[in-house]
Symmetry: C2
Subunit: 395 residues, 2 copies
């Protein structure tokens, strides 16, 4: 299961919430297992999960009828599904159907709630929550719908909960960890596939195609594909162009796809041929920073402390002018989960968090260097998900 | 240019708006050419475009400093860029920089607006719009930010404009048409690549890998990949599984990627070997419906009229029980643009609209059949983007 049910219950208690309503695609999938195609690829389509404090068995998925074939074909862990809106699916011979098809037919046979708001209100009333304090993930619900929800539940207290969901998601379940490890490894193998195309004259775009083709071959989806050559590697978000690789050039990869909805975000640096001295010495300093951070990580350590030590290490190891706003972040169904490794972060590491630790350095006219690893916090340290080593790749 | 500037000006006039503020990634890219990585792949990161009624030369992009390397590396058509937030990029030798790097350095040298709201307020004030009526794309702005924006501009009238942007985007520019045509053709070639793997025993997932690999090879991104075999093809949103193909099975493709941010959405049906008679006759009726719709389409025709004629044609051609909620929709930077081909639609076709026309049929226990073409409305009819023919593919 993706939902960290214990943590959800604890955080709802701590925030005095009787229920939460997930509305962004990330939180809907996280709370139910339901991946709604239209909600993930567009802005506007509405699917929600109402999770009462008593737990997921009492939870309710609210979704457009047109998407519910996916609910029948996926493994969900909510106790109820409510649908809204029409959608034509014929079933002239109900006796001849598979179990998935029968499940779908049962869902289609349930009452049409009218629209997303009316259906949500009915689900809230059915649970006796019409006077409750409910956290609403305010980022995914259409603003006009949020207003209608408030008007329909005048005695309920509806408070924003996008940040509450982020706090819940910060400690991962075993299933999430397995998906994140796999996503990270797919990204590594996609880097290897891209490196196999490395020669003088290859373009950033050609290398990106090799990268994404490997991601796709491993049943993952391309998401992040920053691949820049030479001085272009200094652009943090560099998008592959027709620029061609030359001897001695840096290749910066800041990349990762989505495997079963879970994100990867790793970085490696390669050079075509022997790396110039400055690349080597700067890279060594950045690597030492990452290794220092990984060494410090364990439950109870403050994120801000790690930030300070990582930056200090990089400065001491050969990049005295190094400055950064963060040196890492959680990762999960969203690419930037908690904790944040920033100087002002109040986050404290906990067992089961999954993080990216990174020390990017961007210098215009020279290039960008970056090492980014993904790992989980164990009872007494970290488990790195990486199979690649931490060294500069010279090919 | 992606923005239909004349239509934008006309619609702002008709809706008595002095300016619009784009906030969803689709509308930001549409109004400026700026594609902001973080905004496209996550929920939360904020980038906006303020477009005053006098036009794009007076428009302003508002974006996080950390994303503005992309603004320097992309061709934008807004007159001003305002940044907010810190981001460390070193530039020890400004004289040795390329033109892109100098552009980035100039942007980084501009004032930090503080945050998205403060920067937007400053841009609005700088244009003397603090008492204006401004349409705000309410779906992309964080709700708390929209409240702060209202509080900071007490004399302005801020009204929701997500639907206004949809009306503006409904008629495409030449650049949009070129991208949409290319996206559609990439989807067709990706279907051909998938069909090349077709044999008894291939899995839906294996065929999906072949499909997406071709999309990636053509520098497009996978988005929509509904590929279902046999009875599974009756699930409208079917996601590829380990189900394996058998002789006589239907293969339903409802698919399309994103090429330079523009979407494809086409459908074709294949069978392994000779198609069963019912598949042939039903498919023929569905195809006749699509062809009837294409025949009717020209500027001035009502969408609801097309819906009625298409459904009527399918019913008369061998599928008397055919029912549908829509038979097509516009397509652009969003997968469902205006117009909507529904029975209650008030939309009227205009030259330059790009549409998908489709007649899906889903029957549980039997399968799903669907033909979906993409085309543009010309001065006196349509230009189909399809190079594949409209027939059932038997292989």
């Amino acid at each position: 299961m993706l939902t960290n049910a214990d943590r959800l219950a604890r955080i709802l208690r701590a925030e005095a919430l009787d229920a939460v309503l997930a509305t962004t695609p990330e939180n809907v999938t996280y709370c139910s297992g339901f991946w709604s195609l239209s909600q993930w690829i567009r802005r506007g389509p509405q699917a929600y999960v109402l999770v009462p404090a008593e737990g997921l068995a009492a939870a309710c998925l609210i979704a457009p009828t047109s998407t519910l074939d996916l609910a029948a074909d996926q493994a969900l862990w909510v106790g109820e599904i409510r649908r809204y809106g029409g959608f034509q699916i014929d079933a002239p011979d109900p006796d001849a159907l598979s179990s998935t098809e029968r499940r779908l037919l049962a869902i289609l046979g349930s009452e049409d709630g009218g629209d997303a708001v009316a259906t949500t209100v009915a689900a809230i009333r059915a649970r006796g929550l019409e006077r409750a304090r409910i956290g609403v993930d305010e980022v995914g619900i259409l603003p006009a719908y949020f207003e209608r929800l408030k008007a329909a539940l005048p005695e309920a207290e509806l408070v924003p909960a996008f940040e509450t969901f982020r706090r819940i998601r910060a400690v991962k379940t075993d299933e999430e960890i397995a998906r994140l490890r796999r996503a990270a490894n797919i990204a590594e193998r996609s880097i290897e596939a891209a490196l196999a195309t490395m020669h003088a004259g290859v373009s950033e775009r050609e290398m990106a195609v090799a990268f994404h083709a490997r991601t796709v071959a491993e049943h993952a989806e391309p998401v992040l594909g920053c691949i820049g050559f030479g001085a272009r590697s200094a652009m943090a978000n560099v998008q592959p162009s027709d620029a061609r690789l030359r001897e001695g050039d840096i290749v910066r990869f800041d990349v990762g796809g989505r495997y079963r909805h879970y994100r990867a975000d790793i970085a490696r640096i390669a050079t075509l041929g022997t790396a110039p001295n400055r690349v080597r010495s700067y890279y060594g300093a950045l690597r030492d920073g990452v290794l220092r951070g990984m060494e410090m990580m364990r439950p109870g350590v403050r994120a801000a402390e790690i930030f300070a030590a990582v930056v200090e290490t990089v400065r001491g190891a050969g990049l005295p002018h190094y400055k950064r706003s963060h040196v890492g972040h959680g990762i999960g169904i969203d690419g930037y989960d908690l904790p944040h490794l920033t100087p002002s972060s109040a986050d404290v590491l906990e067992e089961g968090m999954v993080l990216c630790i990174e020390t990017p350095y961007y210098e215009l006219g020279f290039g960008g260097l970056q090492l980014e690893n993904t790992l989980r916090i164990t009872a007494d340290g970290v488990e790195s998900f990486m199979t690649l080593d931490n060294e500069l790749i010279e090919r």
